[in-house]
Symmetry: C2
């Protein structure tokens, strides 16, 4: 068996794409990454952004937050943490507190054993998303 990515060549565009995703906590979609890089790399193609982000996801360098308003959103942070998705503006926020993390870790560990032994499910990871309104949208709604 070969080492994943061993037969891969360097690519400035690839590096730039990964760096851009990791540089923000806005949980961007492919189009955003493309727009951000386009000025610096005029001959960049959206297809390349898609191709590389998919690579990153496969090798675990980037995670998917899920599809929001029809567009897949990514995260350069790959350690386990929750997200908050605003139903008003669609923005995604990292959302974890020490208590939350501890609580969830505990629950997940317990479940991993329970699930595997009792039902045969093999848990890989957990995704928790809180939905609601961000401070700005909440205020806007109240004012309106």
């Amino acid at each position: 068996m070969s080492i994943p990515g061993a037969d891969r060549k360097h690519s400035k565009k690839r590096d730039a794409i990964l760096a851009k995703v990791q540089s923000t906590d806005s949980h961007p979609g492919a189009q955003w990454v493309y727009d951000q890089l386009k000025s610096d790399i005029p001959d960049l193609s959206l297809a390349t952004v898609y191709r590389n982000i998919n690579l990153f996801r496969q090798e675990g360098a980037v995670a998917s937050v899920g599809v929001i308003d029809g567009e897949e959103r990514f995260d350069g942070r790959v350690d386990p943490h929750s997200h908050f998705v605003c139903g008003g503006c669609g923005r995604v926020f990292d959302y974890d507190t020490p208590e939350l993390s501890a609580e969830f870790s505990k629950v997940l560990e317990n479940l991993k054993d329970l699930a595997y032994t009792q039902e045969g499910f093999v848990i890989d990871y957990r995704k928790t998303v809180f939905n609601g309104l961000c401070p700005e949208c909440a205020k806007a709604k109240t004012t309106a």
Copy 2:
């Protein structure tokens, strides 16, 4: 302000679509619902399935599990509960144990207060998804 749905007419197709979504725990997509009903209702259109499911979601009769492998999946169960998505076959399972529910409810309640008072986030609901392999896919992988 008018009552939501007050100016709505009855529709056998609409009833059938909702009933079908609520009749299963397979967390179906629009296409599946369409396929299931097509034999009984030959003149059913996929567009009608989409239109009605969107209605149900707006009024809270149906929930979205999220987009899995490019297709949005729905749930006729709208009470809070977690899901398990198999990365192998894409099937979605309801996944909750008494402990899990209690634990999550507690966490969510605490967070609702914390979040709102400290940061201004208004939490509406939580979505938790466990990803991994279902018993069958886990066994298949081991065997292979």
